[in-house]
């Protein structure tokens, strides 16, 4: 890459850090999964072996962030933003290696991805997965076969769904006879598996204690009534939040792309298909969170870059038919999505993308970049909600809880019991009542997951439960510990509506003991009455 291109890429990386950093400061993407990532990294310091050999802990990430974890959630978030920002130069380097004319374009797609910005700021593992996939793409393009395999193998323990990438890579390696890739793919599972076998004293420990439950906990009201079916508006909003220039994808031609990019788009197709179907079958606890789709970003950015290279008027550029069909397909989906209740923004995206391609086809490449740049720049501002990572989306009652608690300075110092995983973090940020300890009501399915995925025979389960005592969304209260006699009169219950709550607070036991102060929509604030058992 030229010095000028590097300068642009560095500027884009800085832009990413700026956008995500601003979000870290104002907490708009505060997310319980991000708090969990930090918690798992903290556990490495408290119980190193028990955590590293708990597959659910995403060991590679837990170890990566362990040094910064003791400095607190805020410091962790900043470290996470910096790691997530690495995806920008990695994708640019890959593009340069694969012969893209303007490597800064895919870098811009990554840097200005609304979902990547949100996931980076929130501390979500999905942003780390983007960096991992970008690293695989770079080493693949540089023909570092062993490294490619090793990184792809490790990624399965970062996000289990990235097994799809490992599978695509394995098939490609077998077809192209690249045994070093296959060797690399097996390296981490082998080393980790053998070390784990010594720790667990169990040869097939990976199967007995997998990274995720194969099926949801029995009797869990959330999953029992869960019939997830992706609707078009949700999928469209998710796609636009990954990047609005996804509208150009229909123009992509396999013949103009490198073999790595072709395999990458096969991964994108299989990955998206699997994540839309898995929730229907309730496999591996997948729901319809759009953020699961984020790891497609690096290969999507490379594909869009190829499209832009081919949208000119010169011979060999994309044919009028391909332009028409590719753009029309998106326009039809955008219109259908709007009619189904989605936002009209998808039509604006389709219009701007088509305008850019038209200007390119008219031989006006400089003008064509204007609508393209507009789309990219608007992304983080307009399309972020499609990621459904924002605090106001997944915890809509959190701010109201804090507001109501602040109205009662007389409650300061009283213990607070809550099932809202972000309340303790809001208190840390100075939003709560002084002197009050936030006790987090560990939900039955959370405990079930931890106990099912850890080994009781070698002390791992006990060690982890002990380590969690030091902090788990606040001071944890295990389901069997939440008894009326253990809760003092006057204690404040701040409860978000959650169908699982009845499993740890049976209403027939607790309702007579609680005086509801705020029955509000979506949440209840109540005080423990005097008396009772």
């Amino acid at each position: 890459m030229s010095a000028r291109t590097w300068a642009v890429v560095l500027l884009l990386t800085a832009a990413y850090v700026g956008l995500a950093g601003a979000a870290v400061l104002d907490g708009r993407f505060l997310h319980d999964e991000g708090v969990l990532t930090h918690l798992l990294a903290s556990l490495v310091g408290r119980e190193p072996l028990a955590t590293v050999f708990l597959q659910k802990a995403r060991p590679p990430l837990a170890v990566l962030y362990a040094p910064v974890a003791p400095a607190g959630f805020g410091a962790f978030c900043w470290a996470h933003v910096l790691v997530a920002a690495l995806a920008v130069p990695l994708v640019a380097s890959t593009a340069a290696r694969l012969g893209h004319a303007r490597p800064e374009l895919p870098a811009a797609v990554v840097a200005l991805s609304p979902m990547h910005v949100a996931a980076g700021a929130a501390g979500l593992m999905n942003a780390d997965a983007v960096v991992g996939v970008a690293l695989v793409a770079l080493s693949w393009s540089r023909q570092r076969w062993l490294t490619t395999g090793v990184v792809a193998g490790v990624l399965v323990w970062v996000r289990a769904e990235l097994a799809v990438l490992a599978l695509v890579l394995a098939v490609w390696a077998a077809w192209r006879r690249r045994p070093r890739v296959l060797l690399g793919l097996c390296a981490f599972p082998l080393v980790y598996g053998v070390a784990g076998a010594i720790y667990h004293r169990e040869l097939v420990w990976m199967l007995w204690f997998p990274p995720a439950l194969a099926a949801p906990m029995e009797g869990n009201p959330f999953w029992e009534a869960h019939q997830a079916q992706a609707s078009l508006p949700v999928v469209m909003a998710a796609a636009l939040s990954i990047t609005p220039v996804v509208a150009l994808l229909g123009l992509w031609r396999a013949s103009s792309a490198h073999a790595v990019e072709r395999a990458g788009l096969v991964f994108v197709g299989l990955f998206a298909g699997a994540l839309v179907l898995l929730p229907r079958w309730q496999l591996f606890n997948f729901d319809l969170s759009p953020r699961y789709l984020l790891p497609v970003l690096p290969f999507l950015a490379l594909a869009v870059s190829r499209v832009v290279e081919q949208w000119g008027a010169e011979p060999g550029a994309a044919s009028p038919r391909r332009r028409g069909l590719g753009l029309l397909a998106f326009a039809i989906l955008a219109f259908a999505s709007e009619r189904a209740g989605g936002r009209a923004g998808a039509l604006v995206v389709g219009g701007l993308a088509s305008l850019a391609v038209a200007l390119g086809g008219a031989g006006l490449p400089a003008l064509a970049r204007v609508p393209l740049a507009t789309l990219l720049a608007l992304g983080p501002v307009v399309f972020g909600d499609g990621a459904r990572i924002a605090r106001h989306q997944h915890s809509p009652t959190l701010d109201r809880m804090v507001l109501r608690l602040r109205e009662h300075p007389d409650w300061a110092g009283r213990p607070i019991y809550t099932n809202e995983p972000l309340l303790a973090e809001m208190f840390e940020r100075g939003g709560g009542l002084p002197g009050s300890t936030v006790h987090y009501l560990v939900q039955a399915d959370q405990l079930h997951e931890l106990t099912s995925l850890s080994n009781p025979n070698n002390g791992q389960r006990q060690a982890l439960l002990q380590a969690l005592r030091l902090g788990f969304y606040g001071a944890p209260v295990m389901p069997d510990e939440l008894t009326p006699s253990a809760v003092p009169a006057g204690a404040v219950f701040v409860l978000r509506e959650d169908s699982r709550l009845a499993l740890v607070m049976p209403p027939e036991l607790w309702d007579p003991l609680l005086e509801v102060v705020y029955p509000g929509g979506g949440m209840t604030i109540a005080l423990r009455r005097e008396g009772g058992p």
Binding site: P221, P320, A344, L355, A362, E497, P507, G520, G522
Partner: protein, 153 residues
């Protein structure tokens, strides 16, 4: 410049851009919200007192992970709360104690709460869901029933 637009590589995508603009026009002239408002006009209604008894519950709010899709009543002495999620729906009904023969899963001091109208018809609602939603509703009613009187119940 003009001749450049004669190339189908330029005017074909330009036509798609125009189609998108047309789609936006349709969205502006006939917004989906307006269709929803038309449906609202035919939608069931709940009286102010009925809503107050339910702690100000409103359509679109979440009750234990279920979305309140409609509120109605009192009708035949009942308040109806329709809940839905992921294409599954059911209704909670509130009646004054002593007015119904059937036994209710949850009672407050003055009211009883039933459930039913599950759809699709073959759906079996898990016990946890019924328990959680009926008790959440009961909590709301208990906070209001001493002060709110609902005519027609």
């Amino acid at each position: 410049m003009t001749s450049a637009w004669k190339s189908p590589r330029a005017w074909v995508p330009a036509l798609v851009a125009l189609s998108c603009a047309l789609g936006l026009l349709v969205a502006w002239v006939d917004p989906v919200k307006r269709q929803a408002q038309a449906q609202d006009a035919r939608a069931p209604r709940i009286t102010d007192e009925g809503r107050a008894l339910l702690g100000g519950l409103a359509e679109g709010e979440r009750l234990m992970g279920w979305t309140v899709q409609a509120l109605d009543g009192p009708r035949d002495g009942l308040l109806h709360i329709e809940l839905g999620r992921d294409q599954v729906g059911f209704a909670l009904m509130v009646a004054t104690k002593g007015t119904r023969a059937e036994s209710a899963p949850v009672e407050t001091e003055r009211y009883v709460i039933f459930y039913g109208h599950v759809h699709p018809p073959e759906t079996i609602l898990p016990d946890g869901t019924i328990r959680a939603t009926t008790h959440a509703l009961a909590r709301r009613i208990r906070a209001q029933e001493a002060t709110v009187v609902v005519p027609g119940m």
